[in-house]
């Protein structure tokens, strides 16, 4: 299998979106599984800028931002953490309307992540359920992560091209965003209010921007404030909205899962299919029967000599040295050439060296004794 831009081996398709496709991929340099979003060069421009700019490196438990990218002839792949539990859209499909307290936890986590995103000077602008990913937590407390910054915009930066296309998902957009307003964090708060209404009712906002605002009670009051037509009537920031949510009284304390005792509680499954043959939990695997005793790896596991296509501008922000779960035994060089050597081979070398060393020691000991 040819590695994309000599770096990412695309394994299987795990999602398609309006722009590009998302693959489970093996990052040869970091030696870890990643989610690789593959876009055409045209669509990628914004994301490249996103990844490149210093201020856009958002490290937050509730955010999945691309951490590196690589370009091939006509496509760009962005690598990010692989999140296995599907999205809030999957959850809605499986369960329909969700319990109020569960929704409160999800909202709290979105707002937490949004605070970090906004603090970095970014407006997400497309916070629909499919872009709110979930870790597979079963019936425990959910762990949500904001993703897909494909059409994110910079605060305080008028759009360079004033064109009449509005990006975003119909039904979830703030009225002023629909009219082509410049990015403003409060647009994300409106969208989150629309998502909250959908989570509580199971009804998607209409493409005519009608919202399924249906209930009473303090959480609904917050949803109404978030979805105020005028941005000035919304909470001033994600942090302010989070404070409001905390006063509503439906947010369970840390670690509590009040929904778990009810019948048919919400459950977030591992949505990724098993890895295809040739791939194991820690990466490409040897063919068991054909691996030679000398440790020469099967052909497929050898690195492709040199990527054949036009290589490949690569860019790695946040080098993440020690986060890589399994480095080679002797520690792969970081930031230099990618260490393509299969681990099995390194292990054999290790064993060989140890045996030689041990033999040497024993020899020395015997020599000392005999002398």
């Amino acid at each position: 299998m040819e590695a994309f831009a000599g770096r990412y081996t695309l394994i299987d398709l795990i999602g398609t979106g309006g722009m590009g496709s998302v693959w489970r991929a093996w990052d040869q340099r970091r030696r870890t599984y990643v989610a690789a979003k593959v876009l055409g060069q045209h669509d990628a421009a914004m994301l490249i800028r996103f990844v490149r700019e210093q201020s856009l490196r958002i490290q937050h438990p509730h955010v999945v931002a691309p951490h590196s990218w690589a370009a091939d002839d006509d496509k760009v792949a962005f690598a990010m953490d692989l999140v296995r539990g599907g999205s809030v859209a999957t959850l809605l499909g499986d369960h329909g309307p969700l319990p109020e307290r569960y929704v409160a936890v999800l909202l709290d986590q979105v707002l937490h992540g949004l605070s970090a995103v906004h603090a970095a000077g970014i407006v997400h602008r497309d916070l629909k359920p499919a872009n709110l990913l979930l870790e597979p937590t079963g019936t425990h407390r959910p762990h949500l992560r904001l993703s897909d910054f494909g059409i994110a915009g910079l605060i305080d930066e008028p759009r360079l091209t004033r064109n009449s296309m509005v990006l975003g998902t119909p039904g979830y957009l703030a009225p002023e965003q629909l009219r082509g307003a410049d990015p403003d964090p409060r647009q994300d708060l409106y969208t989150l209010g629309a998502v909250a209404a959908e989570l509580l009712t199971g009804v998607r906002p209409g493409t005519d921007s009608s919202l399924p605002i249906a209930g009473g009670g303090p959480l609904w009051d917050l949803v109404r404030r978030l979805t105020s037509v005028s941005p000035d009537d919304r909470p001033g920031s994600a942090a302010a909205a989070r404070d409001l949510l905390a006063t509503v009284g439906v947010l369970p304390p840390d670690g509590a899962t009040p929904w778990a005792t009810e019948a048919d509680p919400p459950e977030v499954f591992d949505q990724l299919p098993p890895l295809p043959p040739g791939w194991g939990p820690s990466g490409p695997v040897l063919r068991p029967a054909t691996a030679l005793p000398t440790g020469v790896p099967a052909r497929e596991d050898r690195p492709r000599a040199e990527p054949t296509g036009v290589p490949a501008r690569q860019h790695d922000l946040a080098p993440a040295p020690s986060r890589t779960p399994r480095e080679g035994p002797r520690g792969a060089p970081i930031g230099g050439e990618p260490d393509h050597r299969p681990r099995a081979r390194a292990l054999v070398w290790m064993a060989g060296l140890s045996i030689t060393g041990a033999a040497g020691l024993i020899g020395a000991a015997i020599w000392l004794l005999v002398r």
Partner: protein, 207 residues
Amino acid sequence: MSSRNKAWFQAFASAKMTGPGSEEDATVDQIAYNLRQQIELYGEPLGPLVRRICDALGLSQARLAETLGLSAPMLSQLMSARRVKIGNPAVVSRLHALDELAARAESEGVRPDEIAVTLDEIRGTSGAFAKSAPPTTPGRAGPRAVVREIQDLFRSVAAADEVLRAADLVAGESPELAELMRTYGAGRTDEAVAHFERHLGGSSHPR
């Protein structure tokens, strides 16, 4: 790909049967209780119901899950009665529609192309969540953005005073056209938006 999907589905099913995550709730008694609950809710346990639909329509379980708007692991849990209830009412109505189609296919036979069309219809029925959420699509901008583009167009072709002189020339022949040129080529944005909405107000409103 379909065999891959099948393998995926079976892997989920078997993982849930024997996997470490199921130790608490997978007692025989609990499953028996869940099966009775499913009979009350759906007339029969979901496992046989789903398998019957799949056989009659020639669908893999993964494909059926996708048509229902359920995730594959959720369908697997329901079929093995690890979970009892389909929470999403839209999924229940799609399941009923599929059951009808399957019954029709068994009794009188339905052509494969007709099955495919009906499946698409069922998938699209209300509240289709899951992976079929509407894509991030461009929508129509409001009048103000459109007006600004028209103004930009004028300004890229001629300066304001040139537009005004040209407007004077055509005013005798066509006052409306002259007004159009003055408004967009030399006027204020608010006036141009008002003009735009006067003429195209109904149809230009964002969908």
